[in-house]
């Protein structure tokens, strides 16, 4: 194997693994945007907010971030349920602009609230020895155990969410309300409660994304929008409403970034956007769209 081919393969593998992290950013958006048709501009900031809460919680109790995240899961569900019922539910059935403005406002409130509380410093949580372990996969290639675990988490979350949406009674009720909220109300589905539960599930994915991100990379109060942008591209690339498409979208974005960075450090983000635009041009409905919706 030539050095160049080796390096290329290595970058593709590492890119696919960081794609797992991007999938976790995107999966909640895939549910809210792809299934519930709800544009949540604050999605990235909610991930950052969850990261800071996770940081404080694990520091105060002296817990590892992984344990702390597990403990905080029910809190995340409840917080997102309440957010939906008290704020976002008021926007259901109104025009798109209202949703964008309110969630944009929420994003600003979160960013400034975090700046006030934590200051502008860059943070990172420690995953302990786990972060340093790596596994050799032959041919001189090795992959980090932690990125591998994050990738596995992403696959498990996608699988679980797919089962939840397409194999459970509450899942089909969520899709029913998303299909036609007025019809749902007319036949007696409690649509506000169902939307609340769906958003609660988004909260679970946001907490897992926050946990994986805050151990993997640095974060500060203002990186939310860049996380949102990645999440948007992953969801749209994969196809709205397709959870497995979101997995593939995440891998493509991760690989594109890593290969771009090989050319020049400045090309990392540029390559991501170029790949996104090219695929969107070729398949405007995304790679795995669930067919046209009426």
């Amino acid at each position: 194997m030539t050095i160049m081919a080796f390096e290329l393969l290595n970058q593709i593998i590492q890119g696919a693994l960081i794609g797992g992290l991007y999938v976790l950013f995107a999966i909640g958006l895939s549910l809210s945007l792809g299934v519930m048709r709800f544009v949540n501009i604050a999605h990235g900031d909610l991930i950052v907010l969850a990261s800071f809460i996770l940081m404080s919680f694990s520091a105060v109790l002296g817990l590892s971030p992984f344990i702390a995240a597990a403990v905080l899961m029910p809190v995340a569900f409840l917080a997102f349920y309440v957010l939906q019922r008290l704020l976002l539910q008021r926007l259901v059935g109104t025009n798109l602009l209202g949703v964008i403005l309110v969630t944009f406002g929420l994003a600003i409130v979160i960013q400034n609230g975090l700046l006030q509380t934590y200051g502008p410093d860059t943070r990172k949580l420690s995953g302990g020895a786990l972060e340093l372990k790596s596994i050799s996969i032959g041919g001189g290639l090795s992959i980090g155990l932690y990125p591998l675990l994050v990738f596995a988490t992403a696959v498990v979350v996608i699988f679980a969410l797919d089962r939840f949406l397409y194999r459970t009674s509450i899942g089909s009720r969520i899709r029913a309300v998303a299909d036609d909220p007025a019809a749902a109300n007319l036949i007696g589905l409690p649509s506000a409660k169902i939307y609340g539960i769906a958003m609660g599930v988004v909260g679970l994915t946001v907490m897992s994304a926050a946990c994986c991100m805050s151990v993997w990379t640095n974060f500060d109060p203002e990186i939310g929008p860049s996380r949102l942008l990645i999440a948007f591209e992953v969801v749209v690339l994969g196809g709205l409403g397709s959870l497995w498409g979101t997995l593939v979208g995440g891998i493509i974005i991760g690989v594109a970034q890593n290969l771009g960075a090989q050319v020049d450090a400045a090309w990392q983000i540029l390559a991501q956007h170029l790949v996104f635009l090219v695929i969107l041009f070729l398949r405007p409905q995304g790679l795995f769209s669930r067919g046209s919706r009426t």
């Binding site: 899709r175 007319l186 036949i187």
Partner: protein, 242 residues
Amino acid sequence: MANDRDHNVGSALLTTSGLSVYYDQFQAVREVDFSIDAGEIVALIGANGAGKSSFLKALVGQVDRIEGGIEFSGRSLTSMSTPAISAAGIALVPEGRRLFPSLTVDENLRIGLSIGRRGLITLDQVYQWFPSIASRRGQLARNLSGGEQQMVALGRALLTNPRLLLCDEISLGLAPVVVGQLYEFLPSLRSSGMGLLIVEQDVRRSLAMTDRFYCLLEGAVRFSGHSKETDRETIMQHYFGV
């Protein structure tokens, strides 16, 4: 499906007294006094815009504002939510069917199962009644024919095990043979004590299949009585306000 709350013979399943429905300033229904008994089939007749759909929507709690009373086997429905009304035993087959297009036939039907009361009507029973949708249970609702969609919409409502079924223009846009099938099937439900309130454009058919009728004109009841004691021509006079 007897319920111990309404065992006294002759007491109505549902009554409205002076029921008015408003959308903003517009009054769609005007002081309607209405009643239906268990096991009875009643027609609501009227031109487009006469207030028929508004009346049905008022019964399931889906209008802006009402005045007057709605009583369902001794309980007032006026401040109940739609999910609570469904659970109490009123099901609406909405105009235009309103299935969830990206859900399968089976999923659409199970939605009904999840919102209503537990009772005798099961998924298997519905598939027995409508064999043509049984063979398409895994398909998306949007891919069905109009007649099949109407069967799913009716099945979805029946799976809530209603004591009162409201059918809003279920023949609209369907082939005559399918309409015939549906209207042959509906009267069989009365033996279980279910009340049926039917909104139908075809006056002759309405009278033929019902026990009593109410004629709405501009939101108010103009004429009502026993279906056997009148005919289409008499009704048409009231239809046009002659």
